[in-house]
């Protein structure tokens, strides 16, 4: 009887190949996104770039907290360390932000591993872990804010250069190159996420998330892989920080390490779908333009919303209501819910 079954059930293994659905989707997204800046009106490009920055930040959070199950409430630290490392290198030493990015990724990863190691050493989990990451990010903010060596609360202005340089990641205002640069970085982070999800590390991360004890009992070195996951996530967060600084050309302790940044990092994958490859991108596409959309509606409201025009605070309220609606009605996030529905079919 057993023999019969072996013959009738085809091995599911052969279907796995490098260019799977996710890879093809990534290629399609890149193809679709390349002409985007040519289609946008110039004022909307910064929104497109905000989507990119949000998405990278969200992807970063998603690696650690979505796949890895370690709820981070301090992603601002990674973002800020990336932003600050590259700014310091660029402003003080004229070093290219590409090298600054690499350095920032390393610094963020080291910080992440250190904090993570401390937390796990003392067996912090769940809410406690989240609060600890929050506390560390806040301490970083407070320290940077009063450290004269890194300009304290003044922060850094990225010096303007003449013309356009890929090496210094700086282009004239409104240049489409900014979007394409962001697209390259985003595609890199998406690719990293896809490869991560199918890699041994990714599988181990999910196993640890699902049941740490069981993962350990089958021989997975839990601590090492948790720290690996954190370092990947931290490095990705640093990329977001570097690109942010290069686009906005200014960074200060609040922008880099503020609690709001950490919340942003959580919000994006939650709205998109935690622990899915595409969730953060979807979340970012929805959230990043939201402020602009609500602000635009309220600037020139449709007739039935006329009474809202020019009222301060309404756009943020609308934003808050939308977040509430998404969480209440799509608890697994937009992409996560759709994915579930498709699976059920």
């Amino acid at each position: 009887m057993a023999d019969k079954l072996i013959q009738t059930i085809p091995s599911p293994i052969k279907s796995r190949r490098f260019f799977d659905g996710n890879m093809i989707a990534l290629l399609i997204i890149i193809m679709v996104a390349i002409p985007v800046p040519l289609l946008l009106q110039a004022g909307q490009e910064s929104v497109a770039i905000r989507i990119v920055i949000f998405a990278i930040l969200g992807l970063s959070w998603n690696i650690m907290s979505g796949f890895g199950g370690m709820f981070s409430f301090g992603h601002a630290a990674y973002f800020g360390l990336g932003a600050y490392t590259s700014s310091i290198l660029l402003v003080n030493f004229g070093i290219s932000p590409w090298i600054g990015m690499a350095a920032g990724m390393v610094v963020a990863a080291i910080y992440g591993v250190l904090v993570g190691w401390l937390c796990f050493r003392y067996k912090l989990k769940g809410t406690y872990f989240a609060l600890a990451t929050f506390a560390f990010a806040e301490m970083l903010r407070i320290l940077v804010q009063s450290a004269q060596a890194v300009n304290a609360s003044v922060g850094y202005n990225v010096p303007l250069i003449k013309g356009s340089s890929w090496w210094y990641m700086q282009f004239p205002a409104g240049s489409s190159n900014y979007f394409w640069l962001g697209l390259i970085l985003l595609a890199g982070c998406l690719l990293a996420t896809i490869l991560f999800a199918r890699s041994k590390t990714g599988k181990f991360a999910v196993a640890i998330r699902e049941d740490e004890g069981a993962a350990s009992s089958i021989g997975i070195p839990v601590l090492r892989y948790k720290l690996t996951v954190i370092s990947i996530s931290a490095a990705m967060g640093a990329v977001a920080g570097v690109f942010y600084t290069q686009f906005y050309l200014f960074i200060d302790p609040d922008l880099a390490f503020g609690a709001y940044r950490s919340i942003e990092a959580i919000l994006i994958p939650v709205v998109g779908g935690i622990g899915t490859i595409w969730g953060p991108l979807v979340g970012s596409l929805l959230l990043a333009p939201l402020n602009d959309i609500t602000a635009a509606i309220l600037r020139n409201p449709p007739p039935f919303l006329d009474f809202m025009q020019g009222q301060s605070g309404l756009d943020v309220m609308l934003y808050a209501v939308l977040i509430i609606v998404v969480i209440l009605f799509l608890p697994k996030g937009v992409f996560g819910t759709i994915k579930d529905k498709v699976k059920r079919r």
Binding site: M70, A135, V316
Partner: protein, 334 residues
């Protein structure tokens, strides 16, 4: 997936910890650290006992209010396992209630407690029922973000209604009291005393009344509580409402002290988190003592690290507690 991370320690801690534990060792350690800090501060101030007394008095008085805010937070966490990020915004709401009633109707600001507490209670119940309840038992992140969005909603609704200018509740000329050479204004003393009294009232309500027993039962074992006939969803509503009422009361108590803006309650949010961890998630008395400790940490942190934010001292205490006693100072040993 994230919810699988909910710590067992949090669950079990709730069941144990409505009272001070018999095991006083951690408290002794805390006292030892406190003495050390005090000594360092003494050196730092060149031995001015007046400054230290003032720091003690100020810290304790600020801590009382922090404790009241944190109390609501810890109760909500202990029973609903929700981190209420809107707690600070609820404090702000309490401030504005007081502002409106005291300034427009001419009430004594402290009498507005009789309005702010029931109002915030009702508001909390409503919010739990129509919003939080739908999301409970799901991922941590979801309730966290729901309350976050709620906070934004409240703040900006207040901005819309009252504008962004700082408002104040007039109490007239302040009387200043002398405490061992240190000084305290009347409104701060009232805020401190009021917070303490309300916190203790709440504590006894939890200990002595049937509703309190039901809340404690749900906190320690929801399934068990349901089996013995407790209407858990009602308890969830009531608990969130109490948590909101605590914030509202705190808002009223500090309204005469602070400049009231739509974001004025934010300050209380972060300290409240610290306190909740400090006191042990879900512990009422822990929150109160934690509040006092954070109040002191703020003051002595300011003396020890004069160029840093006063929050630095708070965060240092926070991290120390997280690593040394993640179950909180006031829970029995596991």
């Amino acid at each position: 997936m994230v919810s699988t991370q909910t710590t067992a320690s949090a669950d079990s801690a709730v069941s144990r910890g409505w009272q001070l534990p018999p095991n006083a060792k951690p408290i002794l350690v805390a006292i030892a650290i406190a003495i050390l800090v005090f000594f360092l501060a003494y050196l730092r101030t060149d031995g001015s006992s007046l400054i230290l007394t003032q720091a003690l008095v100020t810290g304790l008085m600020a801590g009382g209010v922090y404790g009241l805010v944190a109390l609501g937070l810890t109760l909500i966490f202990g029973v609903l396992h929700v981190i209420n990020f809107a707690q600070g915004a609820l404090v702000t709401l309490g401030m504005y209630v007081t502002y409106v009633v005291a300034n427009d109707l001419g009430w004594n600001p402290y009498l507005t407690l009789f309005i702010s507490i029931p109002l915030l209670f009702a508001f909390g119940a409503l919010v739990q029922k129509i919003m939080i309840n739908r999301s409970m038992g799901e991922e941590h992140a979801n309730t966290l973000l729901l309350t976050l969005a709620l906070g934004l909603l409240i703040e900006n609704a207040l901005l819309l209604t009252f504008g962004g200018n700082p408002q104040s509740v007039r109490t007239g000329q302040e009387t200043v009291y002398n405490i061992f050479g240190a000084v305290a204004t009347q409104s701060r003393l009232i805020a401190f005393g009021g917070a303490l009294i309300l916190a203790l009232l709440l504590f006894f309500m939890l200990q002595r009344t049937s509703i309190g027993t039901a809340i404690r039962a749900v906190a320690s074992n929801p399934t068990g509580a349901r089996l013995v006939g407790v209407n858990t969803s009602r308890i969830y509503v009531i608990t969130f409402a109490i948590g909101a009422a605590c914030a509202g009361a705190a808002g009223t108590l500090v309204a005469p002290i602070v400049s009231i803006t739509p974001v004025a309650g934010e300050v209380f949010n972060i300290t409240a988190f610290v306190i909740v961890v400090l006191g042990g998630l879900g512990k009422v008395l822990g929150a109160l003592f934690g509040g006092l400790i954070v109040g002191l940490a703020e003051q002595f942190g300011g003396i020890l690290f004069p160029d840093q934010s006063n929050l630095l001292g708070v965060f240092i205490v926070f991290v120390l507690i997280l690593f040394l006693r993640p179950q909180g100072l006031f829970s029995s040993n596991s």
